[in-house]
Amino acid sequence: MSTVLSEPKLPAGVKLPIYMDNHATTPLDPRVLEAMLPFFTNKFGNAASRNHSFGWEAEKAVDLAREQIAKLIGATAKEIIFTSGATESNNLAIKGIGEMYRERGNHIITQVTEHKAVLDTCKRMEKLGYRVTYLPVNADGLIEMEDLKRAIDDKTILVTIMFANNEIGVIQPVAEIGKLCHEKGILFHTDAVQAVGKIPVDVNAMNIDVLSLSGHKIYGPKGVGALYVRRRNPRVQIASQLDGGGHERGMRSGTLNVPGIVGLGAACEIARLEMDEEATKLKAMRDRLKEKLESNLDFIHVNGSMEHHLPGNLNMSFIHVEGESLLMGINDIAVSSGSACTSATLEPSYVLKALGLGDDVAHSSIRFGLGRFNTQAEVDYVADKVIDVVQKLRELSPLYEMAKEGIDLTKVQWQAH
């Protein structure tokens, strides 16, 4: 008596495992792959080769990609600098501006829920003698404009605030920040990795001077990204951080990754044409997931403002259930958790903690990242499975039992180890 004759039947449209972690990375859109393929084989030229057709062909493809990217964010092609990804873009923006504008001032303003590529770069800047202000966020995950206004002084050269957060999907008041920075004559950089291609981004309307974006978050390839650098009103200058052949207007040397760049361009083109429709679909699926979970489970907490929110993101804490044990129960679904147990550091998510949530709530959080290729049938499957596993784990949870009995868990004297 061992083998099970029939596996439990899956609903139509559901194939396991289900990928719902699209803030970490996205699958390559097949249309993007198709655009890229020739540039791995017969169109292999170096875009910097000026004297033969192989080079011209590559350069033409790169120029088209520049146009496609620029169009998505309201920029011009000449303002796009290619990089290896958003980590490099963020490093180049902050270090390059810091170095170039050092005589004007040494003060940088950022905020606490930025990606590590920004926070750790800022820490490096502090070691180099810059002053950095880390603005707090409110319980919704948003910065307060008043805090920003107060932080600005006559030495401030750069404000770097992300467009949308990778964990909680909260969208910062970018247009307001841009307006204030322009009034004060301070440069504004935004890490827009999670926003570009998902929600409207317009560098002119929003007064953005420098913007980081990445290919693999928008159904493009990994290993390629870009930095938008404003050319007029004001003309932004960036000190290069890689020395070499002077590519990309001298800001970023290195032979261009032509297949990757072609893919990034194609991904931006698709995003520009399909973004509105896709956002509507994702938001409907996200709301359906949220409603199903909320109507079937008690003690749950939605993390971050739902008003200022990416359409495909849902970050929810299932109180009294530890995140990693929940992931283990839904191991045919790829999502991520803010639990410490999922990281090597044993520290729960600094983003959730910045919202003022207790460690226990952070430990119980799950990030759902819906994307282009998710279906409603998958959403329903995920909701049912999460409900089932949360209920099962709560049967096991002494905290849930105590909370149900009306015991105030904050008053219990715990034996921390």
Binding site: E322, S325, M328, A340, H363, L396, S397, E401, W414, Q415
Partner: protein, 142 residues
């Protein structure tokens, strides 16, 4: 993170889940860990006053899969042992049995603490003549 088959098996089929009357003099309760650390274990034992044999054990755990498996295993191991035998269970035995990776060793430590705390609670309720309560007592604060 890859889990060992034994951790997965305990996670899928946890043994001895539940609650016993914490006010009963035959029952010892250990509640260890803290919610903000991501693990809380409650382990209860029911001890025969004559033989000092642990006749039943129950647990509930808030924590990762390894924490659940460690406490599930702990209830299996203490059952049928005398309280003194149960005090011999070491966290390293749990690590070995469940093939826990280094980052999960604290789960086994917590399980050992839970056993000791439960026995300590029982001993406190049943101060045996001439025998001081020597085990570290983590009090079930609820």
């Amino acid at each position: 993170m890859a889990y060992s088959d034994k951790v997965i098996e305990h996670y899928n089929n946890p043994r001895n889940v539940g609650q016993m009357d914490k006010n009963s003099t035959e029952v010892g309760t250990g509640l260890v860990g803290a919610p903000e650390c991501g693990d809380v274990m409650r382990l209860q034992i029911k001890v025969n006053p004559e033989t000092r044999v642990i006749e039943d054990a129950k647990f509930k755990t808030f924590g990762c899969g390894s924490a659940i498996a460690s406490s599930s295993l702990a209830t299996e191991w203490v059952k049928g042992k005398t309280v003194d035998e149960a005090l011999e269970i070491k966290n390293t035995d749990i690590v070995k049995e469940l093939a826990l990776p280094p980052v999960k060793i604290h789960c086994s430590v917590l399980a050992e603490d839970a056993i000791r705390a439960a026995i300590g609670d029982w001993k406190k309720k049943n101060v045996v003549e001439g025998q001081a309560v020597s085990t570290p007592v983590a009090v079930a604060a609820n």
